[in-house]
Amino acid sequence: MTDRAHPNTPIDPEQIAALIDGKLPAETREQLLRSLDSNPELLGLVAEAASVAEVTQSREDVIHSAGPRRLRPRQSRVSRLSRQRLIYMTAIAATVIALVWLPLARRGFGTPDLSAIIDEAGRGSAVEVPDYSAGANRGLAEAAATESEAVRIGAALGALRTLSNANDPTMQVRAERLARDVAQLPVAAPAAAALRAVAVSPDSASRATLLRQASQDLEAVLDATALRRGAWLATAELAARRHDNAFFESTITRRFIGQVPTVDRVAHTPVSDWDAVLSAIEHAIRDGTR
């Protein structure tokens, strides 16, 4: 490993790490920032390390070893921002709850039908709907009827529903891909058939019926809670991409999070830090772990 980014400029990895953590004394930070400004390669190194640190370090992953912890500045930022957010959130949350959550609440939260949330969250969305199918990321041979797989399939169903509602042209490919994923699961042939029918169905109303049928079929053979968790996470990802903090601040979301331990990581991420929220959601979908 080379310790130099520039022939005469030694790199101290810990100094860079302290810069990324926001732990560097002001004077040292200013000096290092000037170095970054004049050395694009060093800036690239810092940026790359910071990007990876964002992804690999969720709150509970922080290593509790000697030295100051990364956790503290974020916690203090949360408390500062939470007061400011409270003022704005009250009004926004009321609107969102009325539009999105009340129908769900009326049905009772014990067995949430997430379709209402997904329908509303996807409406008018200008953000790209993520692809959660196994084929987009890894081999189908890895697919198995595990809890994490159920979370991912739930997320894929949620995303598919959003695309279907929006008559998005990529819906057909996504539906076919998800059908192929699902067909590899034990006794999930009925759900796969429903999804194949979704792919060729011309109108959104019949697609919605078929998607509900596919969801019910899958809930019979997979972990139903994990499926719903995945659907919620997909919705949360859309909300995060639109910086819709009212979604995360609403009481009913909090109740949902309280009932679903897996989304703790999302719940404990400050919603002002959208990249961190998205990262936590992506982790939750990918890992599907408790």
């Binding site: 790490a17 390390a49 910071a50 990876v52 690999t56 290593i63 070893s65 030295g67 100051p68 500045p73």
Partner: protein, 258 residues
């Protein structure tokens, strides 16, 4: 050294974190399978060698996780330079996920045509996308050229000779000239900013860092940065306009630039 346990114990305790960091960099490098496993092993070796020198040097001024991330980033930079020159996946590819990074790596860095890249990825179980879908994905990525001559087998040479995927814009000298003009105007406008603002813009738009991370690096509050970025973009827009660069020119630049 400030670690509370021996370097070996510390290494073993933090091995999952080290592996996670190594895997993250391997993905960014477009490594898969044996190559990724080899990269992970080399990262471990880097930390173990010289009686855990990396861990013994840790002073506790940052979190150990971030420190290890920077150490691995430095190793990854050298690894990349030794294998491919200064190749980095584009921001757009990273934004679009692992399939895009892998596709970009195979096509632009390694020079494979899309159908061969697709075949490799499908065989390895990395994607199920068809060649047409992969081509659409590739078309959304910035056009790039390999940074150094690369070793290829004869089959690739045969295919390369007939491939119809030469970057259109780069093949056109007038477009290249225009992009150079726009790029110079942009560089010139950015240079007018003070150091912090220049870094802010570069970290946000050149390097794709989140505002939260930039705030920590600059040692400032996150919230005011959003307005500051807006002001800076407005300033840059005006500067570019006075240089005769409009939105269309910038779009053309982004088509060419990696």
């Amino acid at each position: 050294m400030v670690l509370s346990e021996s370097p070996e114990q510390s290494f073993l305790q933090h091995l999952p974190v080290i592996d996670r960091i190594a895997d993250a960099f391997a993905r960014r490098l477009g490594l898969r399978g044996d190559d990724a496993a080899d990269f992970r092993a080399q990262v471990r070796l880097t930390i173990i060698q010289d009686d855990y020198a990396v861990l013994r040097k840790f002073r506790g001024e940052s979190s150990l996780a971030t420190y290890l991330t920077v150490v691995v980033a430095m190793f990854a930079r050298d690894y990349r330079a030794s294998r491919w020159g200064r190749w980095r996946p584009s921001l757009e590819a990273r934004r679009r996920g692992e399939v895009a990074v892998r596709l970009e790596t195979l096509t632009y860095r390694d020079g494979l045509p899309v159908h061969q890249a697709g075949e490799m990825m499908r065989t390895a179980g990395e994607t199920e996308l068809s060649d047409a879908e992969l081509a659409r994905l590739l078309s959304a990525l910035p056009r790039r050229l390999p940074l150094r001559p690369r070793e290829v087998d004869s089959e690739v040479l045969d295919t390369d000779a007939t491939r119809a995927e030469t970057p259109r814009n780069l093949a056109d000298p007038s477009v290249e000239l225009e992009s150079s003009r726009v790029e110079k105007a942009l560089e010139s406008a950015v240079k007018e900013l003070d150091v912090d603002d220049r870094l802010l813009i570069r970290m946000r738009y050149w390097e794709g860092l989140s505002v939260a991370t930039i705030a920590r690096i600059l040692g400032t509050e996150q919230k005011p940065l959003y307005r500051r970025i807006e002001r800076l973009l407005e300033f840059l827009r005006k500067q570019l306009a006075t240089s005769g660069v409009d939105r269309h020119d910038l779009h053309e630049l982004l088509e060419v630039r990696a």
